[in-house]
Symmetry: C2
Subunit: 224 residues, 2 copies
Amino acid sequence: MQIAISTAGLHPAMPAMTEPHATLRGEARAMGSARSYGKDEEVYGEGDKASWYFKVVSGVVRTCKILSDGRRQIDAFHVAGDIFGIERGETYRCSAEAVGEATVIAYRRCSLEVLAASDSVLARQVVATTLLSLERAQDHMILLGRKSAAEKVATFLLAMAERVHEDAIELPMSRSDIADYLGLTIETVSRTLTQLERDAVIALPMARRTIVLRNKSALRRLNA
Amino acid sequence: MQIAISTAGLHPAMPAMTEPHATLRGEARAMGSARSYGKDEEVYGEGDKASWYFKVVSGVVRTCKILSDGRRQIDAFHVAGDIFGIERGETYRCSAEAVGEATVIAYRRCSLEVLAASDSVLARQVVATTLLSLERAQDHMILLGRKSAAEKVATFLLAMAERVHEDAIELPMSRSDIADYLGLTIETVSRTLTQLERDAVIALPMARRTIVLRNKSALRRLNA
DNA sequence: CGCTACTTTGATCATACTCAAGCCGAGTGG
DNA sequence: CCACTCGGCTTGAGTATGATCAAAGTAGCG
């Protein structure tokens, strides 16, 4: 049995710096190498041999699955400090792409396995990293399965705001990414945001990638 | 940082016996104790102190999250051999209940942490168990976010059949459990099954907990 | 038997999707 | 500097999928 990588990483819910996997001991020794990607560039594809795992340095990386007819579900957005690409099997089960410009450090999977065997602190960090991904996946499942469009968007906005500790959010991703993350269409995302603006819950400046939260308690009420 | 327990365990997708966590080394030493539960009895509740983790011996256990207004999402059904209840934090983030009569072995969480620190094989099994739960959660997210009712039911039936290696499935869970697992209502589950029967894809004997798969390739086509 | 819980079926409704058009800002080139 | 295009976003109209509300079967079990 192998230890490898494909964490369904982050919700935008927690400040990345406090994440337990912010630094995995042994990474320096493991000789990680930096890589940069442009917007929508692929870090790896579903089915590729999972020889590396990654830590985000800057920018945002999305991991997603695609159905045969093109329908897409984004598992997670990974921000600075997040680890992604740890797999149990030989291949990646999600694809990973840069949302905008992004830099990551790549670590050889084999070095993780070797090190973890001799370094119990590292091993437990790998467990914690994976468990964190699992927690986020669990939260995301109830969102996808049981929340309304308005509730999904509210949850998303609150999580994004929590990440940056501010009420003005600079969204790194497009409406299309948001839709595929929340299990909606771009039209529904757009209409829901417009409705929230009408209700004075948020403000949508001309630069549509910015969203200002005006009434957080209203959002929390929607958060269910 | 702690290593603990709340795996979003199993899909019905794999034969339990081949799971990497079927036996975690050190469990015997860890002095697990057997516990039995009746239908719908709670193994633990969301928010309880996560002092134990569990392995299913017989029966089925569901883990789920509930929204404030009662909407429920079932994360996973756990069958014989599956581990559940491993948490990163101090408390359980899902509740766990027996679907029918079920027996589990409870292990103290602290013994897992102590043992894993000294036993790298056990540590890596914990990682693999958690990664498996994560894989299942990822598959479930695309189902919840992007599949139609018919596709959800087809995926579910194929996964259940795969688990028992037979085309006649004895469902351990009610329509209500299926609905809350698939993000549907019981009416939609029922109607979808009826429609599949009309299309001669499945048969629904009088005992409604049994379902016979008549046309697996039709189901696979729906599986998307 | 007759209750109870579970499931199915029916009718109606609402949420979110689809298809289509229009808007706006950023970039490009005349 | 303006006209054009292109991509991303918004808006509108109509629809469909699945939810809701309500009732009737059916099985299991005392």
